[in-house]
Symmetry: C2
């Protein structure tokens, strides 16, 4: 099928384009880690839960701090080794919620949640992806101070990429939760839904966690059936995105709708309905008469919807 519409230049997908060389095989090398951490050129991202501290440079913002600055700010353990950028170490460390608040009124700094940093483009895409990596790992450490196997305290090792239990000797690795996010369509119509927490007027793709014993394709069909009552057929993978809220892997797809009657699961969705292609184009271009919108480019849903608008029944012909 030929393209239906050209929506102009494509913005990047948020939290991707991670430029760091993770050198994961060197995480076990404590001598290497200590050496690069102590270099003057080493830099850290400082994060407190959802909030990131940025240096205010006037018309730009710098998310990188030296070890000396991080120590002065009371950066917490563990320091996460994110990877190498041009041969120098990049790290992430946590700040306490109370510490980061002390910078709130200091105009040398900007304290901002990661979603807003992304949406407002306050740092470059390279930094955004690295901060997402750090935020996800710091969240994992914060919620995994104890061994789930025996209840004893666990401790971080390998630059923050593992936690070990001294008591039962189980090794714990960071978790990444695969989530399917999909656009069901049939001919000139697609299915969009609204969660109560969405911004007013915004409609998006349906989504849900992949479960044990399930393929990506089965999860796409199950979630669409459970949330909106729509039976689905063929599934076409689109792209993926790390989503650090708190630590998901978004797996984007298009799916062929085989039925039309919507039955909404109100515990998951505030609303769901079919949209004609012309209406979605207006939403995408922010020209809808009632102010309805689709998600911004930072979200993979934006790109999934755009591909359907541009390419038609994406992948099924």
């Amino acid at each position: 099928m030929s393209p239906r519409i050209d929506l102009g230049p494509k913005p990047g997908l948020g939290y991707t384009a991670n430029p760091l060389d993770r050198v994961s095989e060197r995480r076990t090398d404590s001598t290497f880690l200590a050496a690069i951490a102590s270099e003057n050129r080493a830099r850290l991202y400082l994060i407190a839960g959802e909030s990131v501290i940025l240096k205010n440079r006037g018309d730009t913002f710098d998310p990188l701090f030296t070890r000396t600055e991080a120590d002065a700010f009371g950066a917490l353990e563990p320091t996460i080794f994110l990877g190498l950028a041009e041969g120098t170490g990049r790290f992430a460390a946590g700040l306490s919620a109370s510490t980061i608040e002390t910078f709130r009124d200091d105009d040398q700094f900007l304290i901002k949640d990661l979603r807003s940093i992304a949406t407002q483009g306050l740092v470059g895409p390279d930094h955004l992806a690295a901060i997402a990596e750090g935020k996800a790992l710091l969240h994992w450490h914060a919620r995994h101070q104890f061994c789930a196997n025996c209840g004893a305290p666990s401790r971080p090792v390998h630059g923050g990429w593992r936690r070990d239990c001294a008591k039962c000797e189980v090794e714990h690795f960071p978790r990444t939760d695969p989530v399917v996010i999909m656009l069901a369509s049939h001919g000139e119509r697609c299915l969009l839904g609204r969660q109560a927490r969405f911004a007013p007027g915004m409609w998006s793709c349906l989504a849900g966690f992949v479960e044990p014993g399930e393929t990506i394709e089965d999860a796409v069909r199950r979630e669409t059936r459970e949330e909106a009552g729509i039976s689905c057929g063929r599934v076409k993978y689109f792209a993926s995105q790390p989503w650090p809220f708190p630590m998901s892997l978004m797996i984007g797809a298009h799916v062929e709708a085989l039925s039309a009657d919507i039955v909404i699961d109100r515990t998951e969705l505030e609303d769901a309905r079919w949209f004609e292609r012309e209406e979605v184009i207006a939403m995408f271009l922010r020209e809808h008469p009632d102010g309805l919108t689709t998600p911004p480019p930072i979200a993979i849903a934006h790109h999934i919807i755009r591909a359907w608008l541009e390419d038609g029944d994406y992948g099924f012909d």
Copy 2:
């Protein structure tokens, strides 16, 4: 590119084709769960770590047990609600390692590890997928008896799909670890590797866990570079597979190799090298003069390799 070779009928991919309706929205309904669990038609899979107990019916094996049988065998808590099959409940429960051993010499039963059940085709594909679902969840419960946030004991709720901590009130969900598994190729050659634990002579795709802050595509390129020193370009998603050892989601892909010189990470691989298409065909067909092979149909690697053999530079033309 036109198909290069027709390798005959395609076997199914192991642990997929899960026929159960998970009715996940009803897991919170304890009245519903109790009612279907107490029905005479309810059936359980009984699993002890890697081992599954099957009823020996002479020329077939039956993995389903009644609640009465499960109780007599000392089935452990929690009972996992896997979903509905033709309106009746399917569950999984654990047996202790010592209990399952008492059946080892009883010819009414067969005690077998799940990999062998799959490879030998001892149960139908429907059962295999459901057992995979149960095994992954039971493993998760076994290793998550305590709250990782505070160290207190946690308890299973919602038919085994959540564990709650009464002390700090954190809710814990089953984890599923996304793993990329890929075939790097360039023209008439593809890259295969061997892990030391593989069967003698077997070569397969490279693989590794997707990390926080990383796309599927970046993980494919990173793992290929780290394990074999090969730079990669475009990535093409192939298919996915639940892999209950212990609880992974295998994400299969083809990837375009951009370099040729292999540098092996010996902590990950015993060996890796380029194979010409003709040699891989012989391995696939079990006709290699030195007895080299590719993995069996139960593994997604079999299907990834087959697609490359049949379709050429899969997806890049």
